[in-house]
C-alpha cells in the first residue's frame, strides 16, 4: 500500500498545485516533494533487506486482458525510489532560482513525472512498466520543450521521437512475450503480463536473440548507449536546468534499471549472445564521450558528454553479468544521480550570474566564490571517482566486474577514470582558477538557499563514499536474485 501512496501522492499534489498561481506554488510544491521524501524514507527504514518483494499491491487493472496494476519494491527498486525522492525536492529547489512563466504548471509537471519514475522503478507487470515508462516521458517533453532554450522545439522533437520509437519496440517485445505466457490467475484471460510470468517463460535461444533487441532498443535510447545517444547532448543543453537534472539524474537510470529488471532475467540467452557486442558499444561510449568532453567549450555540454561516458561504464558493469558489476551499477546509479545533479546545478548557478556557459569566457571564480569552489570541487572529485567519495565505490566495483568478465575490456574501460580526470579538472582549472574575465568581475558566492540545496548532495557524496554498505546491503538480495534468474537458464 505504501508503494501506491508513493505513486499517488505526487500526481495528487500536481493536480492540487493548479490552485496556486505563479510563485505561490513554490512552497506547496516543495512541501509535497518533501512529504514524498518522508514516505520514501519511511519505506527505507521499515524495509527488510533479507526479503525480496515488499510493500506489494496488486489490482486487476484490465481483467479481460490479464493485465494487473502490480507494484512492489525490492532493494534495487527501493534504492532508485529513494534517489528519486531525494533528487526531486533538490531539483524543485533549484528551479526557484529562476523565474519561469507559469511556475505552478512547471512544478506540477515535475511532480507528475515523479509518479512516472517511481512507477517505472516499482512496476511488477510488463504493461504497467511500459505505461509508466511513457508517463515519465510526457512531462519531461513539455518541461524541456516549453521552458527550454532557443532551439527547444527542434531538439525536444528529436528527443521525443527517439525515445518513443525505442519504447514502441519494447512494447512490441512485451506483446510478443505476453502471448507466450499462460492464463492469468483468475482465468479471465488466456495470457498475463506479470513479471514472474515473464521470468518463467521458456523461450528458444533464437527467439531470445531477436526479442533482446526489441526490449533493449528502449533502454539503449534512454540510457543512452553509443550509437543511440545523438539526442542527448542537444537535449541536455537546450532543456532548462531542472529538466536537465531530471533527465540525467533520474531518467537515464530508468534504462539501466530496465536492463537489470526486464532484460537480463527475461531473455538471458539473448543477453548471453549479444553480451560482447553491448560491452563493446558501452566501452566505445566511455571513450567517445570522454574524448568529446575534452573538446567541449560549453560547461553543460561537457557535463552531458561526461554523463555519456559514465553511463557507458554502468552499462558495461550490468552486462558483465557479475555480482560486482551489477552491485557497482546499483550504487553508481545513486552516485551519478547525486553528482550530475550537483554539477548541473553549479553550471546553472554560474550561468545565472555570468550569462554564459562558455569555458573560455570564465575564470578566477575561486577568489570571488570560495564556498562555490569547495562544493564544486567535492562534486567534481566524486565524479572523478576519488577514493572516499561516492564515485569511487561504484566505479571500482564496476571496473572489477568488467575486469572479471574480460581483462582487456576492464583495462580499456579503466581509461574512463583517467580521461574523466582530464576533462573535469581541465574545466575546473579554466573556470575556477586563472585570471578574471569580463564576465566574472561581479561574481557573487552561493546564497544560503543555494547552499542548503547543495549540502544534502555533498553529505550524500561522502555518505556513499564512506559507508557504501548502507546502500549495497539493500540491493544485494535483488542483484543475487537477478543473477540467479540469468544463471538458471
Amino acid at each position: 500500500m505504501l508503494t501506491v501512496l508513493l505513486l499517488l501522492w505526487p500526481v495528487a499534489a500536481a493536480l492540487l498545485l493548479h490552485f496556486f498561481k505563479g510563485r505561490a506554488a513554490r512552497v506547496p510544491a516543495l512541501g509535497a516533494a518533501l512529504v514524498e521524501f518522508a514516505l520514501a524514507a519511511y519505506a527505507a527504514l521499515t524495509f527488510n533487506a533479507n526479503n525480496s518483494g515488499q510493500f506489494s499491491f496488486n489490482l486487476n487493472w484490465i481483467p479481460s486482458a490479464g493485465i494487473h496494476f502490480a507494484v512492489g519494491m525490492d532493494g534495487l527498486s527501493l534504492l532508485l525510489v529513494l534517489l528519486t525522492a531525494v533528487l526531486v525536492p533538490v531539483i524543485l529547489l533549484s528551479a526557484f532560482r529562476r523565474n519561469f512563466e507559469n511556475e505552478s504548471v512547471f512544478y506540477a509537471l515535475v511532480l507528475f513525472m515523479q509518479t512516472g519514475l517511481i512507477g517505472v522503478f516499482t512496476a511488477q507487470d510488463a504493461f504497467l512498466f511500459y505505461f509508466m515508462w511513457e508517463v515519465a516521458l510526457i512531462p519531461i517533453y513539455f518541461l524541456a520543450g516549453v521552458w527550454g532554450g532557443v532551439n527547444r522545439a527542434r531538439v525536444t522533437f528529436k528527443f521525443f521521437l527517439y525515445t518513443i520509437i525505442g519504447s514502441l519496440f519494447m512494447l512490441a517485445g512485451f506483446v510478443y512475450l505476453y502471448f507466450q505466457t499462460g492464463p492469468s490467475a483468475d482465468g479471465l484471460s488466456a495470457h498475463n503480463s506479470a513479471l514472474a510470468s515473464f521470468y518463467a517463460l521458456n523461450l528458444t535461444a533464437d527467439t531470445q536473440m531477436w526479442v533482446f533487441w526489441l526490449i533493449f532498443a528502449a533502454f539503449a535510447v534512454k540510457m543512452p548507449i553509443f550509437p543511440f545517444h545523438t539526442w542527448q547532448p542537444d537535449t541536455y543543453t537546450e532543456a532548462p536546468a531542472p529538466a536537465t537534472m531530471l533527465l540525467s539524474g533520474i531518467m537515464l537510470k530508468m534504462g539501466i534499471y530496465g536492463c537489470m529488471r526486464w532484460l537480463l532475467p527475461v531473455v538471458p540467452m539473448g543477453v548471453d549472445y549479444w553480451q560482447n557486442l553491448v560491452l563493446i558499444l558501452a566501452i566505445i561510449g566511455i571513450i567517445y564521450g570522454a574524448i568529446i568532453a575534452i573538446r567541449q567549450q560549453d560547461v553543460k555540454r561537457l557535463i552531458a558528454y561526461s554523463s555519456l561516458s559514465h553511463v557507458g561504464l554502468m552499462i558495461a558493469g550490468v552486462f558483465s553479468l557479475t555480482q560486482m558489476g551489477l552491485q557497482g551499477a546499483s550504487i553508481q546509479m545513486l552516485a551519478h544521480g547525486v553528482n550530475v545533479v550537483g554539477m548541473f546545478f553549479i553550471a546553472d548557478a554560474i550561468e545565472r550570474r555570468t550569462g554564459t556557459r562558455n569555458i573560455a569566457d570564465l575564470g578566477g571564480l575561486t577568489r570571488k566564490a570560495p564556498v562555490l569552489t569547495v562544493c564544486f570541487l567535492v562534486l567534481l572529485l566524486g565524479t572523478v571517482a576519488l577514493p572516499l567519495t561516492n564515485g569511487f565505490v561504484g566505479e571500482f566495483l564496476l571496473l572489477a566486474g568488467v575486469y572479471q568478465f574480460n581483462h582487456w575490456m576492464g583495462a580499456v574501460a579503466g581509461v574512463t577514470i583517467i580521461l574523466g580526470a582530464v576533462y573535469l579538472l581541465r574545466m575546473f582549472q579554466r573556470v575556477m582558477l586563472g585570471p578574471d574575465s569580463s564576465f566574472t568581475e561581479t561574481f557573487t558566492d552561493l546564497t544560503g538557499s543555494e547552499l542548503a540545496l547543495l549540502v544534502p548532495l555533498i553529505v550524500l557524496v561522502f555518505w556513499i563514499g564512506l559507508f557504501p554498505n548502507t546502500f549495497l546491503h539493500l540491493s544485494e538480495g535483488s542483484v543475487m536474485n537477478i543473477l540467479n534468474e540469468v544463471v538458471k537458464r
Binding site: N60, W61, I62, P63, S64, A65, F127, Y130, F131, W133, E134, V135, I138, F142, G145, V146, R152, A153, T156, F157, F160, L161, I164, I165, L168, A172, V175, Y176, Y178, F179
Partner: protein, 470 residues
C-alpha cells in the same frame, strides 16, 4: 429501438421549434434530447430484441455502438454555438438533419438485413450531403457538398449493385441466411460463385468508401476541408464508428465461411496496408490542420481495418471489443481536435499550424485539450488512444498477423511527427499579430472540452471500464 423512435419524433419536433426562430433555446434543448436518448439507449443493455420481422436486432453490440454515436453527438453539439449567434443559419434544420442522420447510424449498427444496411447508409449520407454544403455562400463548402454527393451517390450505386448480385447468388438479404447459403451450397451454387464473390467485393468497396478506406479515400481531404468544421467532425467520427460496426457485422454474420474469407480477407488486408500508408504519409505533408485531420481519419480507418482483418469468428470477441474501444477513444479525441480547430479558425480565420501559435498563452484550456487529443490520436499512453491501438494490435498478433502489426507500428511512429506539430505550435512558438488575441469559448464548449479530455485520460488509465464489455 426506443432511440430510433425518439430521434425521429424529436427530430421532427425540432423542426417546429425552428419556426419560432428561438436559436438560443435550441442548443440546450438539443443537449437535453441527446442526453435523454443516450440514457434510454442503455436501458436496452443485456437484452436482445428483434424488430421488423428480424430486419433489425438490438443487442449489446448495437447498444454499445449506439452509445458511442450518441455520446459523440452530445459532446459535439456545443461547438455549433456560432450558428446560434448567426441569425441567417437555419439551426433547427441542421439539428434535425443531425438527429435524422443518427437514426441512420443506429440502423447501421443494428441491421440484420441488407435492406436496412442500405437504408441506414442512405439516411446517414443524405443528411451529410446537405450539411456538407450548409455554408452556402462559401465556394469551398459547395464544392465539398457536390464532391461528396457525386462520389457518395456513385459508391452507393456500387454497394447496391453488390447487394443485388448477392441476392442473385444466395436468394436472400438476411445476413444469417447468406452465411448459411454460402456454407451449405445448394445444387448449382458453384456456377453462381463468381456472382457471390463480385457482389461481396462490390459491397466492400461501397462500405470502404463510407469509412474512407484507401483506395476509396480520395474525397476525404477535400470534403473535410470544405465542409464546415462542425459537420466535418460529425463525418469523421459518427459515420466512421457506425460504418465500421456495419462492416464488422457484415463480415462476421454474412461471410464467416472459409471460402468467402479467402476472397475478402486478402482484399481487406491490402486495403488496410494501403490505408495506413496513404493516411499517415499523406498527413505528414499537410499544412492545414483540417486536412491533416482528414488524413489522420483515413489512417485511423486503417487501424480499425486491422481489427476487421484479425476477427476471430464471433461478433462479440476481441475484434468487436477492439473496434468498440478504438472508436470510442478515436471519436472522443477527434471531437476535441475538431472542436478546438473550429474555435481557433473562427476567431483567427486561419487553419494552418501557425494559426495555433502561442495558444497555450492565450487559451490554456484549448491548448491542453488539443494536446490530450493529439497524444491520444498518436497512441501515447495515459490516453485512450494508446489502449485502443493496444487492443487492436494484440487482437491481430493473437491471430498471427505479426507483419501487419509491425507495419502499423511503424506507421504510428510516422504519425507522431504530425500529431506533435500542433503541440509544438501551441506551446513552443510565439504569438504574432494574428494570434495574440484570446479565442472566445463558451461555458458549454469549455465543459465539453474538459469532459472530452477527462474521458480520454479515464480511458487511458482505467481501460477496463470499456474493454471487454461485449
Amino acid at each position: 429501438m426506443n432511440s430510433i423512435i425518439l430521434l425521429s419524433v424529436l427530430g421532427l419536433g425540432n423542426l417546429f421549434l425552428g419556426f419560432r426562430r428561438s436559436n438560443r433555446l435550441l442548443l440546450p434543448v438539443m443537449m437535453l434530447i441527446l442526453g435523454g436518448i443516450l440514457t434510454v439507449n442503455f436501458l436496452d443493455w443485456g437484452s436482445t430484441q428483434s424488430f421488423f420481422n428480424g430486419m433489425l436486432t438490438i443487442d449489446n453490440f448495437s447498444v454499445a455502438f449506439t452509445g458511442i454515436v450518441l455520446l459523440t453527438a452530445l459532446v459535439l453539439i456545443p461547438f455549433s454555438q456560432k450558428y446560434v449567434l448567426d441569425g441567417e443559419a437555419n439551426l433547427a434544420e441542421y439539428y434535425s438533419l443531425l438527429l435524422f442522420s443518427l437514426v441512420g447510424a443506429i440502423m447501421l449498427v443494428s441491421y440484420n438485413h441488407l435492406l436496412m444496411l442500405f437504408l441506414g447508409i442512405e439516411i446517414l449520407s443524405v443528411a451529410m450531403y446537405v450539411l456538407a454544403g450548409s455554408d452556402k455562400r462559401n465556394l469551398r463548402s459547395n464544392e465539398a457538398a457536390l464532391k461528396y454527393f457525386l462520389m457518395g451517390a456513385f459508391f452507393t450505386g456500387i454497394l447496391l449493385f453488390g447487394m443485388a448480385l448477392l441476392y442473385g447468388a444466395t436468394g436472400t438479404f438476411v445476413l444469417s441466411e447468406i452465411s448459411f447459403a454460402v456454407q451449405n451450397p445448394a445444387p448449382g451454387f458453384e456456377s453462381l460463385k463468381p456472382m457471390l464473390y463480385i457482389g461481396m467485393l462490390l459491397m466492400l468497396i461501397g462500405i470502404g468508401f463510407k469509412v474512407s478506406a484507401a483506395p476509396f479515400h480520395f474525397w476525404t481531404p477535400d470534403v473535410y476541408e470544405g465542409t464546415p468544421t462542425f459537420f466535418a467532425a460529425f463525418m469523421s467520427t459518427i459515420v466512421k464508428t457506425a460504418g465500421f460496426a456495419a462492416f464488422l457485422k457484415l463480415l462476421v454474420q454474412a461471410f464467416p465461411a472459409a471460402n468467402a474469407q479467402g476472397i475478402w480477407l486478402p482484399t481487406l488486408t491490402a486495403m488496410c496496408v494501403l490505408t495506413l500508408l496513404i493516411g499517415n504519409v499523406g498527413a505528414v505533408a499537410q499544412t492545414s490542420i483540417k486536412r491533416m485531420l482528414a488524413y489522420s481519419s483515413i489512417s485511423h480507418a486503417g487501424y480499425l481495418l486491422i481489427a476487421l482483418v484479425a476477427y476471430n469468428g464471433q461478433l462479440e470477441g476481441a475484434s468487436a471489443n477492439g473496434i468498440l474501444f478504438y472508436s470510442l477513444a478515436y471519436s472522443v479525441a477527434t471531437v476535441a481536435a475538431f472542436g478546438v480547430v473550429k474555435l481557433v479558425a473562427d476567431a483567427r480565420q486561419r487553419e494552418d499550424y501557425n494559426g495555433l501559435n502561442g495558444l497555450a498563452k492565450t487559451n490554456p484550456l484549448l491548448a491542453f485539450s488539443l494536446t490530450v487529443s493529439m497524444l491520444s490520436l498518436a497512441g501515447i499512453p495515459l490516453t485512450g488512444g494508446f489502449f485502443g491501438k493496444f487492443f487492436v494490435f494484440s487482437a491481430a498478433v493473437e491471430n498471427g498477423y505479426i507483419g501487419l502489426v509491425v507495419f502499423a507500428v511503424v506507421m504510428s511512429m510516422v504519425s507522431i511527427y504530425y500529431y506533435l506539430r500542433p503541440i509544438i505550435a501551441m506551446y513552443m512558438r510565439d504569438t504574432d499579430a494574428t494570434t495574440n488575441e484570446v479565442v472566445p469559448v463558451t461555458t458549454f464548449q469549455a465543459g465539453a472540452l474538459l469532459l472530452l479530455a477527462a474521458l480520454t485520460v479515464l480511458l487511458g488509465v482505467l481501460p477496463g471500464l470499456v474493454a471487454g464489455v461485449l
